[in-house]
Amino acid sequence: MTTDVGFWVLQTLNALQLSMLLFLLSVGLTVIFGLMHFVNLAHGSLYAFGAYVAATLAGVLGTWGAFLLAPLAVAALGAVLYFTLIRSQRRAGPMAQVLVTFGLIFVAVDATRLIWGDLPIGIAIPQVLEGQLALLGVEYPVYRLFIIVLGLAVLGVLTAVLTRTQVGAMIRAGVDNDQMAACVGINVERMFFLVFVVGCALAGLAGAVAAPVLSVTPDMGLQILIPTLIVIVIGGLGSLKGAVAGSLIFGFVQTFGAVLLPSFSSVLIYALLAAVLVTRPEGLLPAKG
């Protein structure tokens, strides 16, 4: 099978699709961390919340409406979290943050159980994205291509904002040195709030678009957390490029590992993580050189 071009095309597309979902999740988390050294372990729960909200709204508004509103709902939830919990934990140090946001995961799991029940929920693929598309001799689901294109589009927009705009320069300055950024008049805390909310929206978007291809279950937020953390540790904390590199590495190692080395696939990514940590403890492309 490995001599068949179609096999490689198919697995490459699968890897890219996984990478793009992970990218949507990890980019917010890593920039939040880079900017404020804040660890939000509940980031995966926001992804799950996005999926549930999308599944609920899809019945009323259709899938497109759900894709649009779910990220906004998650952003709103993020804002509530910020004002009730996160702001007060900002100066509490990493240990307290890890404990509080880790606790939040279990609150989120039980809350989703109470509201939506234990059974997996499905969501329909939008009609225009149904079916398969022939690509380099392979029939590939259009919807999965849509996820890839969406991830690339978000990457393009974020790159443009970060490298070409004043807000982007402010964010990069804040990641470099938050104290000096404050000394040139930047309200770093307000910028952190903005980045936090955008990061939540992207997690919600990831959950919403993942809903039609995965089953929406209460523990999906917990399941995605470890891959997301591996992505940002491999990629290097705080940087967009790191999130891209980490997501691609994870997506490809995971996908090709599962088909080429099935008996090792579950340890492969951890072996890679260990290798990166030993040779480059800061990750491959950290924000701070």
Binding site: Q166, Q179, C183, I186, K288, G289
Partner: protein, 233 residues
């Protein structure tokens, strides 16, 4: 213009400043001298709100600024050029300059990017270089230029000559002298006694976190005992 009254602050458990008081007058240059570890940088960080105050107060043009966030203090007209320069490494030289310029209104005849480049032509040749690609001298010029683009009422400099070649020290000296002639108020922390006294109008000496000597530049030049005792000159 800037009044520190009975300031106490430090890092974590260690208190560094013990009831430090000083005043900087408008249109003048105040030099803060003192041995390594005396608490000079700590004083400046406390002024900028980067360290929590344990006692005393800071006021600027009659308004209390202690307790405000650093960005708020900066917006009131204090520009800080730190000892480590703290150029934003992932921004180009141009972006470093723009960041400060866009955040502060430029008054008639104030500092613009063109004007700071005219002051430091070297920066003009480096506009597209990354902040991490500069020599020590260039980083210092950029840190000062960035401060000027905030069009501050008071420029606060922490050891601008530290680690620089004599020719660059001379250049920085001449530029700061030019700024002084234009009437810019400055607070200058220095280890280099000759450099500081050739720019300053007033001098305070810090030792172990409080002021042990204050007077004019002429007076410290004449006071060999104070120089010997507090500065090891």
């Amino acid at each position: 213009m800037l009044d520190l009254t009975d300031l106490s602050s430090g890092y974590g458990e260690t208190q560094v400043l013990h009831g430090l008081s000083l005043r900087a007058e408008p249109g003048r240059v105040l030099a803060i001298l003192g041995r390594n570890g005396a608490g000079k940088s700590t004083t400046l960080k406390t002024i900028m709100g980067l360290l929590p105050l344990r006692g005393g107060s800071v006021s600027f043009d009659g308004e209390t600024i202690s307790g405000l966030a650093p960005f708020d203090i900066a917006r009131r007209g204090l520009a800080y050029v730190p000892e480590t320069r703290d150029i934003f490494r992932s921004l180009t030289v141009r972006e470093n300059l723009d960041l400060a310029a866009r955040r502060f209104p430029c008054p008639q005849g104030g500092w613009t990017v063109e004007r700071v480049i005219a002051l430091f032509p070297r920066l003009g040749e480096r506009l597209d270089n990354g902040g991490d690609q500069l020599s020590g001298g260039e980083a210092q010029m950029l840190a000062i230029a960035r401060g000027l683009l905030m069009n501050p009422r008071l420029l606060i400099l922490d050891e601008p000559t530290e680690g620089l070649a004599p020719i660059i020290v001379r250049l920085i000296h001449d530029k700061l002298a030019e700024l002084k002639r234009d009437g810019l108020s400055m607070v200058l922390v220095e280890q280099n006694f000759g450099f500081a006294t050739s720019l300053a109008d007033d001098v305070v000496v810090v030792s172990k976190g409080s002021i042990v000597w204050r007077g004019s530049t002429a007076a410290i030049r004449a006071d060999h005992e104070a120089q010997h005792r507090w500065l090891g000159v």
